[in-house]
């Protein structure tokens, strides 16, 4: 059985929402990369919006737009990946507890702090009583959600699954995490990308996702699982956070001469950043062109069949492969 990406959307620090791949990128000033805010009120009533932190706003808005594009009112499943969940509410509640010595903290922060708030809010808004999962496995959170969606569709337990990844970077967590070893070279960011993964045909086929937790990754071997060789790959999307990111140099080397897309310098590094890469990949297949600003190396050649996405943060690695249908 083949699986397809029927629709997708992305909220990020770039003008990606309800848009094609932007032909221009704004480069970050100092600090982290925060999302451009869409008009949330187009999607969410003010009554609900008033309690929502950025991660919930972005996750819900992005999901609703994705569903709308696919003409789906209620998906057969909602599966969300988030590495750190609702950080802003978590930090607010915790700060209050510590500063006020556990006296009368506000319940709303606690309620909104649980990781599955995004998927839960979507269920409420859509009156969707179906399967509702939230994965949180650090830098593979989105990949695990995608794998679960894929397997569920292959098992014929669903026809259309809403799946996505989302994280937020409130100021407090920027200050806390910017110096952590695994982020030293990176510009931190936030955002969300959602997809309707479907058994119904579209122009973008999801070949699969592979999660690799061992330190080594033999790319040739891994591609065999997707019936591909290095030669078959038309474009690769790497998780490089900087020009000379040693983590990806061996990987990039394997694909020398092919267009190499990067995104983290403009969208930021975060736990579910690879969901951004999947959005970019599906746009490349749909549009068959890559604006120059996304290319770290290589040239746009307007003919893209197979796209490989590779992510590796601290040894938690993943490959996602898309093909043109």
């Amino acid at each position: 059985m083949k699986l397809y990406i029927k629709s997708s959307d992305c909220i990020s620090a770039q003008a990606t929402f309800e848009s094609a791949l932007p032909a221009e990128l704004s480069l970050p000033e100092n600090g982290g990369l925060t999302c451009l805010k869409p008009d949330y009120k187009k999607f969410i009533s003010p009554k609900l919006l008033r309690r929502m932190s950025p991660i919930i706003r972005n996750g819900v808005t992005c999901s609703l737009s994705t569903l709308k594009q696919a003409n789906i009112e209620v998906p057969d499943a909602i599966i969300v990946g988030t590495a750190l969940g609702c950080l802003k509410d978590t930090a607010s509640f915790l700060t209050q507890l510590i500063e006020e010595n556990e006296e009368l903290p506000n319940p709303t922060h606690f309620i909104q702090s649980t990781h599955n708030t995004i998927a839960g809010q979507l269920a409420l808004l859509l009156k969707c009583t179906n399967y509702n999962f939230t994965f949180s496995q650090m830098h593979n959170s989105f990949e695990c959600a995608l794998l679960d969606a894929q397997l569920m569709l292959l098992d014929e337990q669903a026809n259309n699954v809403l799946v996505g990844g989302v994280d937020e970077l409130p100021e407090v967590s920027y200050e806390l995490t910017k110096d952590l070893d695994c982020y030293k070279e990176a510009t931190l960011g936030e955002g969300g990308s959602f997809f309707v993964l479907s058994t119904e045909e579209s122009s973008v086929e999801l070949k699969g996702v592979k999660i690799i937790n061992s330190p080594d990754c033999n790319i040739e071997e891994e591609l065999k699982h997707f019936n591909l060789s290095i030669n078959d790959v038309d474009v690769v999307i790497g998780g490089d956070v900087a020009e000379n990111d040693a983590t990806y140099s061996a990987f990039q080397h394997k694909f020398e001469g092919k267009p190499y897309v990067w995104y983290k310098p403009f969208m930021g590094e975060f736990g579910t950043a690879s969901s951004m890469a999947l959005w970019i990949a599906s746009k490349i297949i749909e549009e068959q062109t890559i604006p120059q600003c996304w290319l770290k190396s290589g040239m746009d050649f307007n003919n893209y069949n197979n796209v490989v996405i590779y992510n590796n943060v601290g040894g938690e690695q993943s490959l996602i492969v898309l093909s043109k249908n």
Binding site: K47, L104, N106, P107, T108, I111
Partner: protein, 84 residues
């Protein structure tokens, strides 16, 4: 009393993030809960209980007991006055 009600309205707007409301939008007798009025929900009720304790030193141990007190800004103000 009217000062108290004004203050309560400000606190409600702030604490419940009623971004689209001004003090003048809330009448003393507007229902806080239910569809005709501010349409607040059970999460707001918990927040109002915290507000009463923090700002006015009034403890409500049983959320059910809070129902009658939290009908409107007027009933909230009456209750606070009665405890003063």
């Amino acid at each position: 009393m009217s000062e108290l009600k004004e203050e309560l309205k400000k606190q409600l707007i702030e604490q419940l993030n009623l971004e689209d409301f001004e003090v003048s939008d809330i009448d003393d007798n507007d229902l806080l809960f239910g569809d005709n009025g501010l349409a607040l929900d059970s999460i707001d009720a918990l927040e109002i209980i915290v507000l009463l304790e923090k700002e006015y030193g009034i403890k409500i141990a049983d959320p059910k007991q809070g129902k009658d007190i939290m009908t409107s800004v007027q009933t909230l103000a009456d209750y606070i006055e009665s405890k003063r």
